[in-house]
Subunit: 249 residues, 2 copies
Amino acid sequence: MLTIAVINQKGGVGKTTTTVNLAHALALAKHKVTVIDLDPQGHLTACLGVHEPNINGIDNALLEQRYPVKTAAIAVRKNLQLVPAGARLGEVESNPAMTRDRLQTVLADQFDDQMCVLIDCPPSSGLLVVNALLVADTAIIPVASDYLALHGLSYLMGTFKNFELSLDRKIPFWIVLTRYQNRRCLSQQVRDNLLQYFPGRVLATPIRENVALAESPSFGKTIFEYRPKSTGAKDYRALAQDLLKRRTL
Amino acid sequence: MLTIAVINQKGGVGKTTTTVNLAHALALAKHKVTVIDLDPQGHLTACLGVHEPNINGIDNALLEQRYPVKTAAIAVRKNLQLVPAGARLGEVESNPAMTRDRLQTVLADQFDDQMCVLIDCPPSSGLLVVNALLVADTAIIPVASDYLALHGLSYLMGTFKNFELSLDRKIPFWIVLTRYQNRRCLSQQVRDNLLQYFPGRVLATPIRENVALAESPSFGKTIFEYRPKSTGAKDYRALAQDLLKRRTL
Ligand SMILES: Nc1ncnc2c1ncn2[C@@H]1O[C@H](COP(=O)(O)OP(=O)(O)OP(=O)(O)O)[C@@H](O)[C@H]1O
Ligand SMILES: Nc1ncnc2c1ncn2[C@@H]1O[C@H](COP(=O)(O)OP(=O)(O)OP(=O)(O)O)[C@@H](O)[C@H]1O
Ligand SMILES: [Mg+2]
Ligand SMILES: [Mg+2]
């Protein structure tokens, strides 16, 4: 079982889009996958078509002492289950009883039957994200093909360094290039920059800009259900294979 | 003097892009403007070409008792000054001495000679954002032309409601449509949706998707310096007039 935190404090780089579509691609390839919505906005939950306002989620497991997280897991697709954000996730970070290893305790041995657990993180460096980093075996860092996303990466690497010092272990990570446009030289500059600074860590398939990826959440469908022949579906299917086979640029 | 918080906990919707280019458009129209970078990533600071790593910023004014914020203000363009984020802004939210009205105290009467102060907020709902809402006369909410940005708006309205209850006053706001693509029906759906739910609050000029807006930050230039004839420059110039003349869709 591999726990993966999908993380980047830079906003709008494709964390949620990558979590939902990569998870479904792995599930379609017959792997058992659980996704956890750790963003109080609950966008991963909405992307999978779950809209009940007061649904139980990871919030209860983090806030209550004896709430088994599996109770909140919902089978949303074949081989794919979701632990929603829940309505109270926004209260967790300011809760005085919240610690940095709370998620680690909550998840311990709960999903051992799964091939992997993907955690969609909010765009911040607060306590929720610290919890995700502590429990993750590896991180996936989506980087949009623009300058500010690249600039934000140096801030994230600083967070990683602080973390590795206090944990006394390295956090392995993969980078996924998102919103890539072949015709834009900015996209190529960002790709070249990533290859220079992070050799061997950029997964092979850049995710191309594709309006179907922006439309599919409004139907509560993954890209494979909404537009199975789109470039978005092709790219996320290939990305799933990159992850399984460790194919990098 | 008008204090405006540029805010949306949804990431990547164009908060920083709007703050830097709207501010410069107002400055070019001969108004005195101050921008404050309240995002620990320091993207507004980078967009204006300020790259010194240990520069003094709003972090010192928030963390130290007697540090006048004006000391940290830098004249970056004619009629435009910047208060950078500073290297320690990431420490502010977890500082036990930090209160929700700290920024209000720090800014009190400091920029009365300015026509307006624009505050670029991070993509969160934490203490920094609460501080910005408490000191702001009005908010500008950039909404990218996609479903998840629209979905995130209901979460933000919830934050506003909680705030208005505890403050016992309304927070006036304008919405700015960003990353608009005429050919995408998703863009038109988002616009129609906003007009239906927020009549009279959507500023007249949608900001069109324009690669020059994504490129200009890498040169530390505003859109008016990088590509003055681009659609991005036209749109932000028009948006500045919308704000001054309260022109809505
Ligand atoms: N490859 C792509 N092509 C087109 N649109 C995309 C692509 N990837 C993401 N998007 C759109 O960009 C917006 C931002 O993506 P998303 O919400 O997944 O980012 P995020 O990093 O999770 O954001 P946040 O920081 O708010 O959590 C979404 O509306 C999404 O639909
Ligand atoms: N109209 C536009 N056309 C093209 N690119 C744009 C436009 N507006 C913003 N961008 C690009 O989209 C990315 C996100 O914009 P920006 O960083 O301003 O959003 P933000 O809301 O400030 O993000 P964060 O939530 O991380 O603070 C940036 O790389 C920016 O260059
Ligand atoms: Mg997200
Ligand atoms: Mg920003």
